[in-house]
């Protein structure tokens, strides 16, 4: 468990020799011990091809590699931080929400259209995820940033969860998501409820929702 929550806006990461961490550039607040921060040209793991993939997908957030031995405090922009521990499943999150994550996690990018075709792409546009999103897979911890506090809502097969696309932060597990539109005549004449689009998540896992509709 390399991340410890100091308070709602700061985490403490323990860096051990041989293990490495990735974090967003400039998010280090303080450190003890001998720790080095190396800007990561590839924007994460993998070789050149992963880097190009991320660049094309616009998921190439500037990351740095954190190595050495000591403890590091991370925080960024006064955003709230949620630590998510992954146990073998996949986390779907926008790259710019990633504050820090374990080097043992496998990083990838996913095309939104691969989940639900054109509707997936529309969904990406509405949630602000764009056409691609970042995936993290394996065993380890991820620190995700959100505007306002974060609520974890479990998703079970019997109880699908509806989320405002702007308040969506991340989700993990075996989850299918689809955009449910409740557009009506009222929306066309400008008398809508402002909640015309909702993200419906069903399956098995959890979704993280921020207490604000503001993007990072």
């Amino acid at each position: 468990m390399p991340f410890r929550e100091v308070n709602s806006k700061m985490i403490e990461a323990t860096v051990l020799p041989g293990a490495r961490l990735f974090s967003q550039r400039g998010a280090m607040l303080a450190y003890k011990g001998e720790v080095s921060f190396t800007p990561n040209m590839q924007g994460g793991q993998g070789g050149l091809m992963s880097m190009i993939g991320r660049r094309v997908a616009d998921e190439a957030t500037p990351l740095m590699t954190v190595e050495g031995s000591g403890t590091v405090l991370f925080g960024h922009g006064g955003h709230h931080i949620q630590v998510i521990n992954l146990t073998g499943d996949t986390l779907y999150v926008e790259a710019d929400r990633l504050l820090a994550f374990d080097g043992t996690l496998e990083q990838g990018t996913m095309f939104m259209g691969s989940q639900g075709g054109v509707m997936g792409m529309v969904r990406g546009q509405v949630t602000g995820q764009g056409l691609f999103t970042t995936t993290l897979k394996g065993h380890g911890a991820v620190a995700v940033m959100a505007h306002g506090g974060v609520v974890e809502i479990p998703i079970t097969p019997q109880r699908p969860v509806h989320v405002d696309p702007q308040a969506y932060v991340a989700h993990h597990g075996d989850v299918r998501n689809k955009l449910s539109a409740a557009l009506g005549l009222r929306d066309l004449v400008g008398r809508g409820s402002g909640e015309a689009f909702q993200l419906e998540l069903s399956g098995h896992g959890a979704v993280y929702v921020q207490a604000s509709e503001e993007k990072l």
């Binding site: 308070n7 806006k9 700061m10 450190y31 003890k32 405090l73 925080g75 006064g78």
Partner: protein
């Protein structure tokens, strides 16, 4: 002062307001009983009772200013609250906390200090943009996110530093290990790969406490006064040919700053 879930907002009246304590994370209540407090202009949001707020430089307050301020140029940014009652202090919904000093000293970023008791003496720190409080008493400071206390040795991002107590003044520390070697040289020459943004820290050693805020978003800096232009005064610019550093162009994020200069870029 806990809010009970489902009980609705807590309604305060003059008797239930906490005395010299936080009302919530963003508001602090100070009780005056014929005593005085210094506050930064515009940080009082409400008060009960009868209070006077006087700008400093008022004849009656001259003696007070003389004992508590040692930087006459900077005193105009402060007001003195006097009278009886309770007043609420807040600053743009930043986290507010009070700190007690007992014959101690604490140096704080000028923009973070909201108010202090006149038993404390406010002085300019040798470090530009910081103020030092010396003596016994209470002061109130704001921070972006809760304040975290750490023990030295520690290296701190300059933007996350709120202040430090009892320990020697910090020094600059530069990490540029990745700039060495063949790949590092290429990186320095071409600028490819960028900078990690963490090349420059303040390093604290010795015994004391370092105060950090949970974010790198700085609060607006308050003028901390200028220092006399004399040789030997840091920041005074008195001594000619005194090396780079002071008064240069502001550093942009992602820029290597002094490192860049060191590598001749």
């Amino acid at each position: 002062m806990t809010t009970h879930p489902g009980a609705g907002p807590v309604v305060h009246d003059p008797t239930t307001l906490p005395v010299d304590d936080n009302v919530n994370a963003y508001t602090f209540c100070v009780e005056l009983r014929g005593s005085e407090w210094f506050l930064q202009k515009g940080k009082m949001i409400a008060y009960y009772g009868s209070m006077d707020f006087n700008g400093i430089g008022h004849g009656r307050l001259d003696r007070l200013v003389r004992t508590s301020f040692h930087s006459p140029l900077h005193a105009s940014d402060w007001v003195v609250a006097s009278g009886t009652g309770r007043m609420l202090l807040a600053d743009r919904a930043f986290d507010v906390n009070s700190y007690d000093l007992d014959k101690g000293n604490l140096t704080i970023r000028s923009g973070n200090l909201l108010a202090f008791q006149p038993t404390l003496a406010l002085k300019q720190s040798i470090v530009p943009g910081f103020l030092t409080l010396i003596g016994t008493g209470t002061f109130v400071a704001a921070s972006n996110g809760p304040v975290v206390f750490m023990e030295p040795p520690i290296r701190v991002d300059p933007q996350a530093l709120v202040g430090w107590a009892d320990c020697p003044s910090p020094c600059h520390h530069y990490d540029h290990g990745y700039m060495t070697g063949v790949m590092g040289g290429l990186r320095a020459l071409t600028g490819l790969g960028g900078a990690s943004g963490e090349e420059h820290q303040f390093e604290f050693v010795g015994a004391g406490t370092v105060l950090l805020q949970s974010s790198e978003a700085l609060m607006a800096e308050q003028p901390a006064g200028t220092v006399p232009h004399q040789p030997g005064v840091p920041g005074g610019g008195g001594a000619p040919g005194h090396g780079p550093g002071q008064g240069g162009t502001p550093r942009l994020p992602g820029q290597l700053g002094d490192l860049q200069r060191r590598f001749g870029l």
